[in-house]
Subunit: 456 residues, 2 copies
């Protein structure tokens, strides 16, 4: 193999795949880069689809960031959609591919392989999940099916199974179409990755917006009527009537192909890579939702199926497959969600998670104003800080407010990644300007409050 004519194959073309492929080609323009994708489309803005459902985004076709043709032309990568990679044979540096149109099977040799097989929707494993009014929201096809159903059947009610963050976004979308929404969730409060205070606030926001949230419920059956539509969701807490059902209970990494090739998978279910995104098998890299990543707060693996993480890891995989020496240092979990009039953001780890990892923590909740309360638009910002008592380091934070949570979370995200102590955070030179912020930013108020606690 010469670097010059290196054959790089990318398996999977939705999010990490295109990023890795494009980066590989940019890094080594002489490489022969091929990308195989089992579905029809690539590079689709799936995270924006809840806003398609809600009607905020009107033109679905605009969510296709690249058509296969456009990607091939602009990125100089050979794109093969409707091609399923069925097997990797590492000993021969070969893959076996099925053309889903012709059903033909063929072999393809690689010098470097990048696995970007992504994730799939977690399923309930009960009857009725495949009915035409039961949906996931994971692929373009899912979004199109929901849109089509909304348009043709004009449902009046929906049951969302799952109270995670995609569930929240879908609930808002459906409510903005004036559809009655019932949300069934297995725990007492929605969004179990967040702190109790955030979760309670989210529940209040759901209630305020007429989403009926049913806690502690187990779905037992999806009962179909004579026309084959699910009309009742049967649970251990009764039956819920509905014109449509959306199942949003998380995702699972797609690792069958990797496992079959003896590529190591971790206890969290994702492919294990080193910080160059290389798997345990020579010349095979992986990136995206099919992988675990390193949590740079705990230095432990985490399964974090987020587009940001996928893209950054994919760049590293692509660059290294093409002969580069890039490193992906990991992620902290940085996420935010809009739930009606509420912004909720999380950066770093939560208080329960911190205990599980053996940290002794101090937590502190700050209720502060986003700016001088005399100024128009001044609002309450709530920040919960999770601090390691031993090192005084900020491990994580939850933030919520109407408007200002997301951006302040990014500021704290940098502090967490830099392993800053509360004392260091309390000394930060941050902006004060009456139209935007108070003399002491809520971040500084919080850090100063915690300092007092740490001194006790």
């Amino acid at each position: 193999m010469t670097l010059k004519n290196r054959r790089i194959i990318v398996v999977g073309g939705l999010a990490a795949g295109p990023s890795a492929a494009a980066k590989a080609k940019r890094t080594n323009p002489n490489a022969d880069v091929k990308m195989y994708e089992a579905s029809e489309s690539i590079s689709y803005a799936i995270c924006e689809t809840p806003y398609l459902i809600g009607g905020l985004i009107e033109d679905e076709s605009k969510l296709e960031i690249y058509s296969p043709q456009k990607f091939q032309k602009e990125k100089d990568v050979n794109v093969h959609t409707l091609h399923l990679v069925e097997k990797i044979i590492p000993s021969k540096h070969k893959i076996i591919v099925r053309d889903l149109r012709s059903r033909d099977v063929f072999e393809e040799e690689y010098d470097k392989l990048i696995i970007a097989t992504g994730s799939r929707s977690r399923r309930l494993g009960i009857d009725g999940e495949s009915c035409r009014n039961v949906f996931n929201l994971k692929y373009r096809e899912d979004a199109l099916n929901i849109l089509n159903f909304l348009k043709t059947e004009k449902p009046k009610s929906a049951v969302i199974i799952g109270g995670g963050y995609v569930g929240m976004e879908i609930a808002e979308g459906l409510r903005s179409r004036n559809i009655e929404v019932t949300m069934l969730h297995q725990f007492k409060l929605p969004m179990e990755g967040l702190e109790q205070e955030s979760r309670e606030r989210i529940l209040a926001e759901l209630n305020n917006n007429d989403v009926q949230f049913i806690p502690n419920v187990k779905v037992e059956a999806l009962q179909q009527d004579a026309t084959g539509l699910v009309k009742h969701v049967i649970t251990d807490r009764g039956s819920f009537e509905s014109d449509m059902v959306i199942i949003s209970i998380g995702v699972l990494p797609n690792t069958d192909l990797a496992r079959d090739a003896n590529i190591r998978v971790g206890t969290l279910g994702g492919i294990i890579t080193d910080e160059r995104q290389q798997t345990n098998v020579d010349d095979i890299y992986a990136a995206g939702d099919c992988c675990e990543v390193k949590n740079i707060v705990t230095n432990k693996p985490i399964y974090l199926p987020l587009a940001t993480v996928a893209s950054r890891a994919a760049w590293v995989a692509g660059e290294n497959a093409a002969g580069g020496r890039a490193v992906f240092k990991g992620a902290i979990r940085a996420m935010a969600v809009k739930i009606f009039n509420l912004q909720v953001a999380q950066v770093g780890i939560g208080s329960e998670e911190a205990s599980q990892y053996g940290y002794k923590t101090i937590t502190e909740i700050v209720n502060a104003r986003s700016k001088n309360e005399l100024m128009p638009g001044s609002e309450e910002v709530v920040i919960k800080f999770i601090v390691d008592k031993t090192s005084n380091r900020l491990l994580g934070a939850n933030l919520f407010s109407c408007c200002g949570a997301f951006q302040r979370a990014n500021t704290l995200a940098v502090a967490i990644q830099q392993k800053m102590t509360i004392d260091e955070i309390s000394r930060l030179d941050l902006i004060y300007a009456p139209p935007f912020s108070p003399l002491w930013d809520p971040i500084l108020i919080g850090a100063n409050q915690i300092k007092k606690k740490l001194l006790l």
Copy 2:
């Protein structure tokens, strides 16, 4: 002197003074803390006054954060307003104070003294500056005078002398009262601390909002009419008629008292302190607008009369005067201003300043979307990065947009304070959520663009 009965005197009660006094008392509740202020009020939210002028804030009295009585009661500090400290005699640990009501003069002994004499408005030094329709905006009295004039005289036009950031805020305030505004500025573009691109954008915003900006102009006289009002501002570029004049050409540190006591003052005009806020004279501390501070980007002194800097330094002075061991590490310059529909923010140093300090820099301008352009409220965010070519460290940034500049500036403020390189910034795990931000935040897009340049 015992720590227990330590007598701490604070000279000046507007911003740094009350912060220092309250902190001293909190640190050592047995200390006897006195604060002398020459004017009638203390602890006034002067930064909010442009919004009083514009009518956004209606009740002026609410800008008084503490009345002297309330401060004395809540903070347990002896407050003496209308008392002017006329002299410090370090050899005797004494000050000489004049009671401006009774005109009596008396001496007061201190164990520790904190100078917080603040700053005063820079003056033009020409006739007419004291006329009753010529204003500064530095003290509560100034704000009250302006408000009163607006109410009683209903001016139709105003000339603002000075195109700095307070001038911008006043211009917006006056325009919102439908007063014709002419801004006279000594340079070609407003706000010379900022980058050229920001300054051009600000000029456009002024034009869009019917502020007549006259560049490169020198004010020669303020011509009074028979009633003693200034009706014409005479310049080297002609005469400008106006019903009122506001002079906003910056501030100067008040250091006469300190100089007289042989306290060292720096080349920028402010008192020099160490990082414990101690001056060169034993037992005398200083904080606030009367001081220079350390720029933690350059490690050189900077004169930065900002409330954030004053408050943080004042806490350190107060704590140390009371027997503590606090440290003020300095500031980076973190500021933002709203100019009609524009947010402009600056963190760290500018490109010209960087050259003056001997840095070889690379600059990069990023025009990015605040979020996916399909989402409502997506707007352009412009960031100019100033990067040290040798260390690849981010030295500063200017940001402007309609809505999202200020908060992104705070995120970069942390990066600058942590001395992060562009490579480190490009790896930051920042939030992506369609209602708030794009997959690659403008900060990351910028850092990645610069990385390419740095590799060349």
